[in-house]
């Protein structure tokens, strides 16, 4: 607690005594511009081959609108599932010890290393009516594979590492003194969690959620194998982009890609701004909790 308040007492307007601001920022900006901004502006440039009317027509077609609902809805649901379970997973991986913990810890990265197509094929086989999981769901009348739920399953799979891996270092970093102090001041475990631990974890959780969400929005490889791809029902936007490419309609594809990119950008910006605002609201300084010693 002491470390916390001391950092908040430092005025926000303090001088920059740490070195490397210019260098690191220049590095970052150069890298971002070359690798990300420049290529993406190429995309915008190509999409602008279309007039605004055509662009609007492509972006708001019936199929396109339905696909946004499916894509963003499933991504939101999957990211929420991941935030909840990912927090638990990160917590038990850091705090508890149990047999096989290391192996399970390593397993968390699996969704990244497994090619998305393999993930999609495997999940579809598992959740099909005769699959290891699907056969137990089928008598309950629950269908996952080849329905929009299948999309959520695939997106949960590919998004999980984001939440767990963003939370792990932060949970590892929480100083036990803070919890002990809270406990010694009479706080229950629940109060400690809500008042002390959660605020410290929350920014990372939000980050993990955002990352899982944005990754899900663009995901194609795994989803098409489990979605069923029925027009208006289980068609994701990236599938429509592919469909345009199959028709050699590169401009139409870039138009849809731009729409997705803009929506994602606005959502990401909103979350990041919210986070920044939340961090600054308290005390005008970043929520530093228990800097080491």
């Amino acid at each position: 607690m002491a470390a916390w308040s001391s950092s908040c007492l430092t005025p926000a307007s303090r001088r920059r005594i740490l070195p490397g601001f210019g260098l690191s920022l220049a590095c970052t900006l150069a890298y971002l511009s070359l690798l990300i901004l420049l290529p993406l502006s190429g995309l915008a440039f190509r999409a602008s081959d279309l007039g605004p009317v055509e662009l609007w027509a492509i972006a708001t077609g019936e199929r396109a609108l339905a696909s946004y609902r499916v894509t963003f809805g499933a991504s939101l649901l999957a990211a929420t599932i991941n935030a909840f379970f990912g927090l638990i997973v990160a917590w038990i991986l850091v705090r508890y010890s149990f047999p096989g913990k290391r192996a399970i810890d390593a397993l968390v990265d699996l969704p990244f290393a497994l090619p998305t197509a393999v993930a999609g094929i495997t999940l579809a086989t598992l959740y099909a009516d005769n699959g290891w999981i699907g056969r137990h769901l089928e008598p309950l009348g629950v269908k996952v594979a080849f329905t929009p739920f299948g999309i959520v399953v695939a997106l949960t799979f590919i998004g999980l590492p984001f939440v767990v891996r963003t939370l792990q270092p932060v949970i590892e970093d929480i100083e036990s003194e803070v919890e002990e102090a809270a406990a010694s001041l009479g706080a229950s475990r629940w109060q400690t969690f809500i008042r002390v631990l959660f605020p410290a974890i929350f920014p990372a959780l939000l980050t993990g959620f955002t990352l899982a969400f944005s990754r899900s929005v663009g995901e194609y490889g795994s989803v098409i194998f489990i979605a069923g791809n029925m027009p208006l029902i289980s068609e994701i936007t990236p599938l429509l982009i592919i469909s345009k490419l199959e028709q050699y309609d590169v401009v139409g594809a870039t138009a849809l890609a731009m729409v997705m990119l803009i929506i994602s950008f606005v959502m990401l910006l909103a979350v990041n701004a919210l986070q920044w605002w939340a961090a600054n609201r308290h005390s005008g300084c970043s929520p530093s909790l228990g800097a080491h010693q």
Binding site: L35, L43, F112, A113, V118, L268, S288
Partner: protein, 289 residues
Amino acid sequence: MNGRLRRVNAEPRWLRALLLGVGLGFLFFFLALPLLAVFVEAFAAGWTAYAGALNDPETRSAIGLTLLVALFVLPFNVVFGVAAAWAIAKFDFRGKSLLITLIDLPFAVSPVVVGLVFLLIFGAQGLFGPWLAAHDIKVVFALPGIIIVTLFITSPFVARELIPLMQAQGKEEEEAALSLGASAWQMFRRVTLPNIKWGLLYGVILANARAMGEFGAVSVVSGHIRGETNTLPLHVEILYNEYNAVGAFASASVLALLALVTLLAKTVVEWRMRRENSMLLADLPAEES
């Protein structure tokens, strides 16, 4: 460290059991079962078929290419990630949210679109296409193209791991080190690096896994030339489409295993850190609490 953690770990027994049950159950259904299914398919025709599938020269060249790409991409990720996190977490400036959002953006771009974007630039019909063709430089459908899209796809990982961590840590320690006369480099090596080691490691592990596993973007710019520009994930898909399920899932299992190798890396780092820590702790005066 661990002994102290266990002491604070004050959740009641039932809650611990519940959390463990829920967490492990979730992992079982979402990670362990799919992994198991991959291995079951890979070994469907027995050990010899599995080994035979991996011994295929095209498979081996695909494994080599995938490792080469990862090896190339990771150093860039580390440098960019640390630089970006340093600027963002340790300093206040305008437009920070925008900058973070830009860093996040590659995650939100559909991998196929990523490939498309680089084709629009480096492809024969792209912006620099004619110039590159005139100078006989190959970017797309060759190794450079694969590396560039992989860089794009993996660029946010290290930065994104480090930013929340470094923000949570604040900057008192670095400032203290400087005021004690440390040089910038000393401060970074002795104070910052030890503090961010886990985040950095996780970032690298994730970027590595993603670099090796990426399919969509690479598939657009690779050209799929067997034995030359076919990465392992692409190879997996082709084998599967050719009705060679054993070959496909065997190759996929290699990717899964490569991801698990990071387990080894992590264990080694952990072990070395603990040794350093215990030496360090011995030097420090006892803590108050």
